[in-house]
């Protein structure tokens, strides 16, 4: 039981990770796939942030009377990873716009059909 509750943050990470990957694989709509990819990446952000957390600590800002801080490094790393994630999403959406212009569709099976007939 303590494994379940004591590590609830990691269970959330695993759930989001699997949900995101599932959407990426199972969805045929190119935009929804991007949503899945974002959920998948967000799970990793939580993994990083929660590993820097120690019980009873506060945000890593120097303040009188506080001696226990979260580890700021994972948070900084994730700031970078979020930027990378935004860039990836932007590029993916740009590609979808151009795919839609070229194929008049954002459904994977319809695009595949057009490629086969051509």
């Amino acid at each position: 039981m303590s494994v379940l509750i004591g590590h609830y943050n990691y269970w959330i990470v695993i759930f989001l990770m699997m949900a995101g990957l599932y959407v990426v694989i199972a969805q045929g709509n190119l935009v929804k796939k991007i949503v899945g990819l974002n959920i998948f990446q967000a799970s990793v952000f939580i993994l990083f942030i929660s590993m820097g957390k120690i019980g009873g600590d506060t945000a890593p800002i120097i303040k009188q009377g506080v001696s226990l801080y979260s580890n700021p490094l994972p948070q900084v790393l994730i700031l970078t990873a979020i930027v990378v994630g935004v860039a990836t999403t932007a590029l993916a959406l740009a590609l979808v716009v151009r795919i839609n212009e070229a194929y008049r569709s954002v459904e994977e099976d319809e695009i595949h059909e057009q490629d086969q007939s051509f």
Partner: protein, 494 residues
Amino acid sequence: MITQHLPVLQVIVPLLTAPLCLLAQDRRFAWGASLAASGTAFLIAALLLAQTLEQGIISYELGGWSTPWGIEYRVDTVNAFVLLIVTAISSAVLLFAQRSVAREIIATRIPVFYTVYMLCLAGLLGIAVTGDVFNLFVFMEISALSSYTLIALSEQRRALTAAYQYLFMGTIGATFILIGIGLLYMMTGTLNMHDLSLRLPAVTGTRTVETAFAFLTVGISIKIALVPLHLWLPNAYAYAPSVVSAFIAATATKVAFYVLLRFMFTIFGVSFAFKTMPLNLIFMVLALAAMFAGSMAAMFQDNIKRLLAYSSIAQIGYMILGISFASVTGLTAAILHLFNHALMKGALFLALGCVVYRLGMVNMEQMRGLGRRMPWTMAAFALGGLSLIGVPLTVGFISKWYLVAGALERGWWPLAVAVLVASLLSLVYVWRVIEAAYFQAPLPADSDETGEAPLSMLLPTWALILANFYFGIDTSLTVGVASSAAQQLLGVSE
């Protein structure tokens, strides 16, 4: 002294050239600036390699922050060699690029093309030069995002879906690598590669480290396009502009392969990767699957660029097989093949670039009778094909020689036989192209006189082809560097 700052200049030169190309909005300037930056990067890489061969490892502290805290750029023989390969191929491809890009990419997008190309080069060089695992992730994303863009710049609409697919596979791979890095940080509290290698042995028994190892292996394997994680590769190479196919085929998977070497040998160490975890067995099976499945699929392709893409998947199998031996000879073969495969695939894709320049397409049908109409291009393709098969006097022969030697050294002769049989398969698909080009009459419909490709495209193609033969005959540089790199990775002193 400027020579002290060579490791960081390696990345900065192309990185700063990128915005210049965009701001200038001039095709000629963008091309000239990129070529100059790439040439400078090549000189820097050559100087770095000479330095490492002379003095050993170069450690550069970025911004003067001391090592475990700041980012360290760490150059040893292994990554100096990779830097040299990437910059050499990039320079040859850029020499070729001006006319090819003008034909295949919409004029207004050409400055953007060179901008993104420079970003991609900066990313690839950054991956190779850095000694910090998180920095490696960021550079990997820089190079990956720019290569998706490069592929999507093609005028073919299938390039868009290929880039989209590559983006998804690539991002999942990179995120897996990020998870692995996070788990390693969780156990060791460090991101510096050298520091990680010192701290990991104390915690190797834990499940977290084993999970990190699994995530990293899968993530990097996606980037390498190891069977069965190769699905993004054929379309990405087939529909990208010719220049991009040549550049990415010859560098991106090679750099990813370097990342694998770095993680498995430097960070985790041989005893963990190959004794505690059964990586050698997994890699051996996947390598054989890649060698045969890739070659078989290549035999049935109609689009020649796709054929070469499948052949790349097979060639990656050879490199992975070299790793799975976990011996100095095996690793030497893998690193040699990294260099040699970059030379042959670079040359072959450039030769196809010449064909696309004249004919617009590279299906089997267009190749018919091309040996007479484009003699120099097709001769280059034929010679590059010989190197791919592994005929003596070419670089392909050298890497296969070491691979077979590595297999026999371990007493695994069936693997040596498998390497030879897979080479025969590559003979089949190369021969299909040669037969069409030299022994079939051209279609009457397109009998209009299409001549040879311009000299500015033939010269870089032939330079790479001649390099295939030069390094196939005089192996002192490549074999020397590869074996000393292998010894460094395995921690064996000479």
